[in-house]
């Protein structure tokens, strides 16, 4: 490849550079020392709202190189983890009734609270013979569904980043007659507000980069302005995250909480107008349930009147539970709701590493390798990690 001026190549070269990383880590340590010496700070708790930031953090072992007082915690950043059990149950039911069910790999494995005919997830339904197909994108599902005329349903999870694909498929009339959607899309800023209101005591926020490409970084302004929380919209390479941490510590030291775009190579303050228009055209913003958390105002995407013929619930006569009917959708004892909000640590859960282990997960946070409980479960080897570093 002619790699020299290639931005893809440059990203890997620059944003994964070991020497630069170690230099930035030294700067982080300096800031941390100053914070302790000058302000008597004992712990800095930085929350991310994004499963992919959490992925970068664990994948590159970022926690293992930070000073012990600088803690990274995961917030409600997972469109899969927070998808209410109800949607999974509905999808499983439709699949077992003979419909073709499409979704992404992570939603495919997501367990529901209730068993439907012995099935707790779409992967269970598939082993019972249901036609469940894992796809990389909505576009792939569109193409696949167009090849057959079996009635099909897409379990459409996702945040602001994922939902424009649904809107675009619909507006551009690409979606074939036989494909409908279970629309479970969610908006992130309301959940972030919810989290900081309940939890407080977050010293800084690493805000989601790819969501912000759509919404614009501006939606995070309330964090520094109303809650005095330094906020950095960050990219997903290891150096992006390290730089974001540096910038948060700097703000803490200078007592100047503000909104900074670290991911300026693709995020702007106003965001992606085209995608926002698509979203507004196809969806209404409604009060919606988050798994283990409850209803959050104006936090869900629902297909609006003009496009209701794509609505699988309407088509198959499924009624969504209202706020009154909605019940806590975690199994008894599981405190994922608080873990997701960063209000509790997995070790605060009575079931942690007893009933609930990565091998036999009980709650949603233990399911995926990036779920907070699953990460903590595997941090048992921390001494080994520190020794290797």
């Amino acid at each position: 490849m002619g790699q020299q001026g290639d931005l893809r190549y440059l990203t890997k070269k620059l944003f994964r550079d070991k020497v630069l990383a170690s230099q930035i880590i030294r700067i982080i340590k300096e800031y941390w020392e100053l914070l302790r010496a000058r302000k008597g700070v004992e712990e800095v708790k930085i929350m991310n709202f994004c499963g992919t930031h959490e992925y970068t953090t664990t994948h590159y072992g970022i926690r293992s190189v930070l000073p012990p007082g600088v803690n990274l915690v995961a917030g409600p950043g997972c469109p899969v983890c927070i998808t209410p059990s109800f949607y999974v149950e509905a999808a499983v039911k439709l699949a077992l009734e003979g419909l073709t069910l499409y979704t992404y790999g992570d939603a495919y494995k997501l367990p529901a609270v209730k068993e439907i005919d012995g099935c707790r997830s779409l992967s269970d339904a598939r082993m019972m013979g249901a036609d469940v197909r894992v796809v990389y994108s909505f576009l792939d599902a569109i193409r696949d569904a167009a090849k057959h005329d079996k009635p099909s349903v897409f379990l459409a999870v996702g945040f602001e980043t994922t939902c424009p694909a649904y809107a675009s498929g619909i507006v551009n009339r690409l979606v074939p007659e036989n494909l409908a959607l279970i629309m479970a899309g969610r908006l992130t800023p309301p959940a972030a507000r919810f989290a900081v209101e309940r939890v407080g005591a977050v010293s800084g926020v690493i805000a989601p980069g790819h969501v912000s490409t759509i919404t614009g970084a501006g939606v995070w302004r309330f964090l520094p302005e109303e809650f005095d929380i330094p906020t950095v919209v960050s990219g997903f390479e290891p150096l992006d995250v390290l730089i974001a941490i540096t910038l948060i510590l700097k703000q803490l030291l200078e007592d100047e909480p503000k909104l900074v775009i670290e991911y300026s190579r693709t995020v702007t303050m106003e965001g992606n107008r085209h995608a926002k228009r698509l979203l507004a055209e196809v969806f209404d913003t409604v009060d919606a349930a988050w798994r283990g958390i409850g209803f959050i105002e104006k936090s869900g995407y629902a297909l609006n009147e003009n496009f209701s013929r794509y609505d699988a619930f309407r088509l198959y006569g499924i009624r969504e539970p209202s706020r009154e009917e909605w019940r806590h959708d975690l199994l008894p004892g599981c405190i994922c709701g608080q873990v997701i909000l960063g209000a509790a640590k997995p070790t605060d859960c009575r079931l942690f590493m007893k009933r609930c282990t990565p091998g036999t997960p009980y709650g949603p946070c233990m399911v995926s390798v990036e779920g907070s409980c699953s990460i903590w479960a595997r941090m048992g080897g921390r001494e080994a990690l520190v020794e290797v570093v």
């Binding site: 620059l14 020497v19 700067i27 945040f159 980043t161 694909a165 690409l174 989601p208």
Partner: protein
């Protein structure tokens, strides 16, 4: 929450674009941005282009880091020592870029 991959636009065909993800890895994606042209670098998430990458902004963020280090260096002599080596490393990484 949202895995995004960088690619380079090969061709635009209406609401679809053919994107090269490096090394001959080619797949098409919905165009989710106002306009894209052949040769643009874009971020693709689950089959849709969600934004463009800006070449001008690409290394801007390292300015923040240098600035932070320079500030620290004024009071912390330890930082001053390696500020220079950091600059050199950045330069090395960036040179070779046209």
């Amino acid at each position: 929450m949202c895995l995004g991959v960088y690619g380079k636009v090969v061709r635009v065909e209406g609401e679809l674009a053919v994107v090269d993800f490096g090394g001959g890895l080619i797949k098409d994606a919905l165009v989710g941005v106002e306009e894209v042209r052949e040769g643009d670098y874009v971020v693709v998430h689950a089959g849709i282009i969600v934004s463009r990458l800006s070449e001008e902004e690409f290394t801007e963020v390292f300015r923040y880091v240098e600035e932070a280090a320079r500030q620290l260096a004024q009071t912390e002599s330890r930082v001053a020592e390696y500020l220079e080596s950091m600059r050199v490393r950045l330069q090395e990484n960036l040179s070779g870029q046209k």
